[in-house]
């Protein structure tokens, strides 16, 4: 590691990885793997696929780190790789699903994977809450690519507007427009459940 004393800086770790030091790469992965996992999970929807996507992103980071010039933060650059890997994965899965979707429909596994907070023991409310969560999932999936990415990164992964803009290589104003449109589309789609739930 480059600095002789104290904890290594991100910059020194990057330089180490550029010169082929795997131990420094492991430290960088450990720094960003949790947030990267969150992004991958929210985009692909299950743990195993999120693991594959995150591994792919880490490999790409290692193989392409020499091209990293340090204009943005490494975390932002890494999240961009995660997003791109997740989109590639979704594209492949979409292609595969064209064949298998009929066989899988109606088994209810998708509902079982959804995390719904326990709002009450009232079965009717619980059912509605589940339905709301499911509709939200479906609604987010049905958004346009940019709306979905902006919404997931902002509201499910808590990235700020500037980070999202850097991750998606666009202007912050563009991110805000996509966020507004995504929120408005989802509000329109889910207004029925919100009214019943009482906001």
């Amino acid at each position: 590691m480059s600095p002789e004393f104290g904890a290594p800086t991100e910059l020194s770790l990057i330089e180490d990885v550029k010169s082929g030091r795997r131990a420094s790469f492991d430290i960088l992965v450990a720094l960003y793997q949790h947030k990267g996992f969150g992004i991958a999970y929210n985009l692909v929807g299950n743990i195993e696929d999120a693991k594959d996507v995150l591994q792919e992103a880490c490999i790409k980071m290692y193989l392409n780190i020499k091209a990293f010039e340090g204009r943005a933060k490494l975390s932002t650059w890494f999240y961009r790789i995660v997003v791109n890997c997740a989109l590639d994965f979704l594209r492949m899965r979409k292609r595969a699903n064209r064949v298998w979707v009929e066989a899988d429909s109606g088994n209810g596994d998708k509902q079982a994977n959804l995390e719904v907070p326990d709002v009450s023991f009232d079965p009717a409310r619980l059912r509605l809450a589940k339905e709301f969560a499911q509709k939200l999932e479906e609604g987010v999936s049905a958004l346009s690519r940019m709306q979905r990415l902006c919404f997931v990164l902002r509201h499910e992964n808590s990235l700020d507007i500037r980070e999202i803009a850097q991750t998606l290589k666009c202007r912050p104003a563009t991110v805000k427009v996509h966020l507004f449109r995504a929120a408005e589309n989802l509000r329109r789609l889910l207004s029925r459940y919100v009214d019943v739930e009482g906001g």
Partner: protein, 169 residues
């Protein structure tokens, strides 16, 4: 006071707390007097809250151990495979000049052959007997002679035409 259409555009920013203080006050005043926008705000708030409350599950220690093991294996595979791939281009590169030379040679033979075939058909043919060869050669000479004559005649006629045209002019 803000109109509802303007308010609709600002609701998201209002919830995101990214309005200026003045705009925020205007929005609050509008919301107090407009039940429609208040309802819209509540709906939007519920959607965003639900999205925020969607927890990413903690996959646990075992998951991260598997993740690290899998990552190391995949990365090692990626780092090894380029070396294997490098050997193939070497073989291909060593064969490439041979293929190139062969292709060039075939091309020149074909071109050379076709040129000579058109000009000297007799030279490339195995003579069945000498008489045939002599006859063919004589025929070719005669044809070439006729062609030369025709050419000169054509040129002569063209010259005459030109002279007539000049005279008429």
């Amino acid at each position: 006071m803000l109109k509802c259409l303007m308010m609709k555009r600002k609701l998201y920013d209002y919830l995101d707390d990214s309005l200026t203080q003045a705009d925020k006050l205007k929005a609050q005043r509008h919301l107090e007097g407009c039940p429609g926008c208040r309802e819209r705000l509540n709906q939007l708030k519920a959607v965003l809250n639900r999205a925020h409350s969607k927890n990413v599950p903690d996959p646990g220690e075992e998951f991260w151990h598997d993740f690290k093991t899998g990552l190391d294996k995949k990365l090692n595979d990626k780092l090894v495979s380029p070396l294997e791939l490098r050997r193939r281009p070497r073989l291909a590169l060593s064969l490439k000049p041979a293929f190139a030379y062969a292709a060039v040679a075939i091309f020149f033979i074909a071109v050379f052959g076709s040129l000579h075939k058109s000009n000297l058909p007799v030279a490339f043919r195995l003579a069945q007997n000498d008489d045939e060869l002599v006859e063919e050669t004589i025929e070719l000479d005669e044809l070439e002679g006729q062609a030369a004559l025709n050419h000169s005649e054509d040129a002569y006629l063209e010259e005459i035409d030109l002279l007539f045209e000049i005279e008429q002019a």
